[in-house]
Amino acid sequence: MTLTPPGASTRLRVVSVVAAAALLAAVAVTYTVRAVHRAEPIASRSEFALDPGHLYFRSTQAGAGRVARLSASGTGPRTPGGPSCERFYAAGGTALCLLRRPGIPPKSYAVVLDERLREKRRVALTGIPNRARVSASGRMLSWTMFTTGDSYAGGDSSFSTRTSILDTRTGYLVKNMEEIPLTIDGRRYHSPDVNYWGVTFARDDNRFYATVSTKGRTYLVQGDMRKWSARALRENVECPSLSPDNTRLAFKKRVRGGTKDPWRLYVLDLRTMREQPLAERHSVDDQAAWLDNDTLAYALPAREGGRKQDIWTARADGTGTPELRVRGASSPAQVR
């Protein structure tokens, strides 16, 4: 390599490196300053409440990073100005907002909001906010955080999840549900590598469904809060979501190995235990939300690329074609 001619004097080299460093520093600083100007302020107050007949979501358009809403009919203007959340869900007069406060190290919180979207309780957590659900009555809350080891000294980059369950009536909080007695194929199962995520509660606020992963496999589990037990129902299912009438379960199912378009949305009829794929043919990496007994909403990466997401809807019976519902939005929650 003769990029540095042997004759180049030390002074010349020092001067050129210092000059290059100055240029690079200028680029870095300029870009950062512009990013600071672009940043949206973090808000904890909301300019609207949880009113029935509205679709709530996290917006990446006007008021990026904050919750916004639309009337359920989809007509009318979009109202920005909700609380700042990374993940949002609401039902039965209770909202759950997962947020992250930057810093060193950054901190995460699960914030419980009342029907006027005012803060009621805040739980400090570690990890990256990922799934959030509120039971239909508003009593049972559950959320999932991804945690990851840092790689300072060559650690591996495996991810694990921490899923919490909060009973807002008693205030009882299960910070990490991994110790729940689990049954797979009729036998008690023990393994240090179990990870739960994506909990959805039934109307009785006791039965719930979730994903558990262990040894590279994922299972759909049905759980019981009072008995504090869980059993696997079927394999290869993630992020369940129970329909309002509690008869069907929507979930994403792995249809391909690897990372290219691995998932597809399915609906499982709990009476017949038959699966039906949705008309959506894109890979969906989201916990779908039921807008009503016939319609599911979910986020997909925006067509135009970039880091935007759009909310799409599809019919739960697998017919029809998917429809773009809200641009620049994620975390849909229909308040009935």
Partner: protein, 465 residues
Amino acid sequence: MYLATTDAVATAKDKKKGKGAGEGGNAGKGDGRKGKGRGRVTGPVLALGAVSLVTDISSEMVAAILPLYFVLGLGLSPLAFGFLDGLYNGATAFVRLLGGYAADRGGRHKLVAGSGYLLSALSRLGLLLAGGATAGIGAAIAADRLGKGVRTAPRDALISLSSPPDGLGRAFGVHRAMDTTGALLGPLAAFALLWVTADAYDAVFVVSFCFGLFGVLLLVAFVPGRGALPTAPATAPASRPRKALTLLRVPAFRRVCAAAALLGAATVGDAFLYLLLQRRLDFAESWFPLLPLGTAAVYLLLAVPVGRLADRVGRRGPFLAGHGALLAAYVLLLLPTGGRTLLVGVLLALGVFYAATDGVLMALATPCLPEGRRASGMAVLQTGQALSRLLAAAGFGAAWTLWGIGAALTCAALALTVALAGGAVLLRSTEGTPQTTAPALAPTPVPEEPHAPPEKPHAPPEGTP
């Protein structure tokens, strides 16, 4: 940083003048400006250290925020990222061998290492341009890993080629200390950036790219190329990459490789140990990310002193003792001690383990390798160690699942004890051979060569593997 690099140039020039051994005794303080030989780290080593420092800031910045970017920025689950990462980690083993071989061909260490650094720097732009496209992100991560795999062996070969034989431990110690400093600063810089920009991941990518490119520039400007290396490799290296493995015919090198692989196969990954610590101590999870920081801090502080010690008493002792420290960490976790003793003890032991083994192993292997094939040899050694550690992690995970934590850890401790005994036997006669080639640099007072009877701190060798 400028200080370090200008200093590097000064030393590099100093080296050409080739002053005699002179004031050998006062090697202790690093600021002895005119110090030479054993007491001094050469300019190229400092330059390479600076390159690694800057590059590690760049790469750890991205590594620290990539999960966040995936989940919060893109709305994807990070499992896909974990999958990609595992895949590429396997691929780097092969790339590393290629990089070592390419560097040895015609002594193009600087070119090969530089390409690796440049590729990793450019991968940040790839992340920026990929937007949300998973395929693009996958390609960028692959480019980063590729660059890392390619550059490691040529860089270590450069360090060994630019250092006096009796100062290798110290040279690698200085390099690893600077490297770790960068690894500590990177995440801090990234989180600070996210803080002020309210999660502008693209700003982190751009700043990381600037650091990466600066590292490449430092390398181009201050690391000597082919012509300036102390000894241009005259002998034509083997004609095919596969021939790198013929280095294993060198008995001394074969023993070092065998010892490294044997000990590596009993090395449980630190992620497991941190997890065990957390289960035992049950502290708040928000402290969890700080555990590796503690280890890195110990490593950073001890890398240079341990390297110097290795130069003085021979590298075999510290290398084995480092694994002894790892064994101590296992035992601490098995004992019923708790609280602060356990926490501090384990982090300290892990830090000592890294300080006494990472750079020291390279210093240990250097004298066994002909100068013209050093990068290939280091690649073989590092790949062997990495593969055996992979095996150890898989085995430990399986043992944990099958028999529970306590039993798995007991197995690991027993395996490490046996491996230590085996390693002691294997490394018995490796050292001593190289020092005969040491030029007149060596100062008279302290040449304590490890010709002393091989003392065995551990159980008698009941069978070489």
